[in-house]
Amino acid sequence: MTVIQKKSENPIAHLSAEDIEILGKELDTIRQEIRDSLGEDDAKYIRRVIDVQRKLELGSRAALLVSMFPPAWFVGTVGLSVAKILENMEIGHNILHGQWDWMRDPKIHSTTWEWDMASPAEQWKHSHNELHHTYTNVIGKDNDLGYGIMRVDEDQKWHPMYLAQPLWNFLNACFFEYGIAAYDLELGKNLATKKRRANPEFRADARNVLKKIRKQATKDYLVHPVLSGPSFLPTLAANFTANVVRNLWSHSVIMCGHFPEGVETFEKTSIEGETRGEWYLRQMLGSANISGSKAMHIMTGNLSHQVEHHLFPDLPSNRYAEIAPKVKDIFDRYGLTYHSAPLYKQVASAWHKVIRLSLPNGWLAETTPKNAPAQVIKLVRMTTGGKKVRRELSRAAA
């Protein structure tokens, strides 16, 4: 992948500035139709999901009180994992987007909601709603691309440390909520210099994150195990498992949103003076969907409709499915590619990209069973050699 501006075949070259503005108007119309039709059924939907989630969590935690019995452990762990996924995805993420603010219910509102996640809602709203959704897939502006720890684009210079990126990505997936918290804090950048470390704003944010983590950990790894008495250890293990399952799941879903092959990235300079139509277009090109059943959509918090979500981040998630055919139609009419595939395909595609970019440009594509030994030798030389060796070898490859 390469930023869209440097591609030999620009997928939007056929669109005039006027086309893009008309496209924007069409999307505005879709948004307005949904806004106008929001009502009691939508309100009932989110209240029902919240109700089911809370009861499922209560039931699962109750089962885990006797988790020394394997069936109770199993049922409780599965239930808690599902409850945690629902809480983060269909409920927390979407409420914090302001999707349900129109109900004017202070209990279900982006300004009052807090979620079961290491990152406090306030900080996450800034880094996610403001940065990621405004600057979607703009290299250097949207940290969701690789979370600042990965090589996400051919244009980023390769370095041997990227060889470990599949491992980083897997570890990030297991402990995703902490990864998100670190990334919301811009930990890498803020720890880098003494001045930044001493910045009172950063210190206050960091304190809030630590406080939140402490509360979350106390709940899952101390209070509930203690309440389980003789089932202390099995409950601890169950809660840990549920958190890891939730983390792996949400990481996979989110990786599918912007990382599969074919999703475009953009240059920083390209968004200067961007119109609303151009913003819409960037969202269309920068997102990918997951196809699947209704249950699948709910479990992904309807991020399976990532394209629709990025076009209309504040429309209630239960409406994305109905918007999708209309959006697809716009893609077709304007000659754009609507990326959608089942979960396993999108996950595989995203992982393929992670692995491909962990290696020098072109290495994976050039490698065949025949030339494998030579390729490995080249990789070892590039890894152990200095900058100069790398430059020479990569130039030779190109």
Partner: protein, 365 residues
């Protein structure tokens, strides 16, 4: 000067224990609160936000109904004549309105009642009168309002009401049978439109009140001199008036010119029609800044230009980083022209980056 050290009360250790239990419960439920789970079981329990369950909707006239509500345990009771603010979801959106309490406080079932007249185009009043079903949970505020009888009841009373203005007065009449020398002058379009018509006529037949019904469709409106002619001992009577603003102003003027203004108590129902236009005066209540904004500039931009430090984010209406409570006024969504209004006491959250003033606005910031 002497001071006394407050004695430790027996209640203190109990409170401390309750607090400790609550703290522990919070450790279990974080990031939610224990109340979030308890609300699933009993939304009306003590300690919960004040709510009520609608038990019945009883039609009074073709466009008015009495809504019987079982209030939560935190309900502190009311004085007849007072109103409550009720928050009800209409088409999924929480709307708050104030209605007078009309119930008899000696009801044995512990319920309270409000009486609502559906006004043309009224979102909430029509919903309450025509579409609400028993079992609905509503949000409540404690009773409020100064339109009440004094502790020392007047020997002679006069009530001047029009339309739904009868509702607080009915609350008084039902709860004060000891009030015996009462004249009630009530205006309504026709005899069928008189809310509580049958009950009022029965009270009149029993000799409890003297009832003067003015049916304005046929007989026109009563002005102050006409009322004075109808009630010759008007100057001896403490008077409570409730009805349209125009009527109240005329009455106040008349009572004042007669030197009787200390004996007149009035209640204005909030005018529901808000004048909206292009632009308006925007005041930031906590910050103290007031500015004139036009109808095309986002409030966020106008405020920043005026030097107000505003929360902001994407500036295109997607991130909700800029929302602030609109306490009173009207704003227009610049993306689609939609008008959002807030009545005093509301706190409708608006996205300042895509909202322009559509009238005077009070913003809590």
């Amino acid at each position: 000067m002497t001071t006394t050290v407050p004695r430790p009360t027996t209640a203190r250790p109990r409170i401390a224990l309750r607090d400790r239990v609550l703290k522990l419960a919070e450790l279990v439920t974080t990031p939610l609160l224990p109340t979030d789970y308890l609300d699933l079981i009993d939304p009306l329990r003590s300690g919960a936000d004040l709510r009520g369950r609608i038990e019945a909707v009883l039609p009074e006239t073709r466009d008015a109904a009495t809504v019987v509500i079982r209030p939560g345990r935190g309900w502190q009771g009311h004085t007849p004549g007072q109103y409550i603010r009720i928050g009800i979801d209409v088409d999924g959106v929480r709307q708050w309105r104030a209605y007078s309490l009309t119930s008899d406080r000696t009801r044995t079932d512990g319920c309270i009642a409000i009486t609502v007249k559906a006004i043309p185009g009224g979102k909430v009043s029509n919903h309450l009168v025509h579409r609400t079903t028993p079992g609905t949970i509503v949000q409540l505020d404690q009773a409020a309002g100064e339109f009440v009888l004094p502790a020392q009841l007047p020997a002679k009373a006069l009530f001047l009401t029009a339309g739904s203005g009868i509702t607080p007065v009915m609350g008084m009449l039902r709860n004060h049978p000891e009030l015996t020398d009462v004249v009630l002058v009530h205006s309504a379009p026709t005899a069928e439109d008189v809310v509580f018509g049958a009950e009022l006529r029965a009270m009149a037949a029993d000799g409890r009140i003297r009832l003067v019904e003015q049916h304005t469709d046929t007989a026109g409106m009563l002005d102050a001199p006409a009322i004075a002619a109808l009630v010759p001992d008007l100057h001896e009577r403490a008077t409570w008036a409730c009805g349209p603003v125009g009527m109240l102003e005329a009455l106040e003027e008349h009572w004042e010119s007669a030197g009787l203004d200390s004996r007149l108590y009035t209640e204005r129902f909030r005018p529901t029609v808000l004048v909206t236009g292009e632009g308006g005066t925007v005041s930031f209540t906590r910050n103290g800044t007031t500015l004139e904004a036009d109808g095309a500039t986002p409030i966020l931009d106008a405020a920043e230009d005026a030097g107000v430090l505003m929360p902001s984010g994407c500036r295109m209406g997607i991130c909700y980083g800029c929302v602030l409570p609109l306490r009173e006024g009207a704003v227009r969504d610049l993306r689609n022209g939609e008008i959002t209004t807030a009545a005093p006491g509301d706190g409708v959250l608006i996205q300042t980056c895509v909202s322009a003033a559509a009238g005077a606005c009070d913003i809590d910031h």
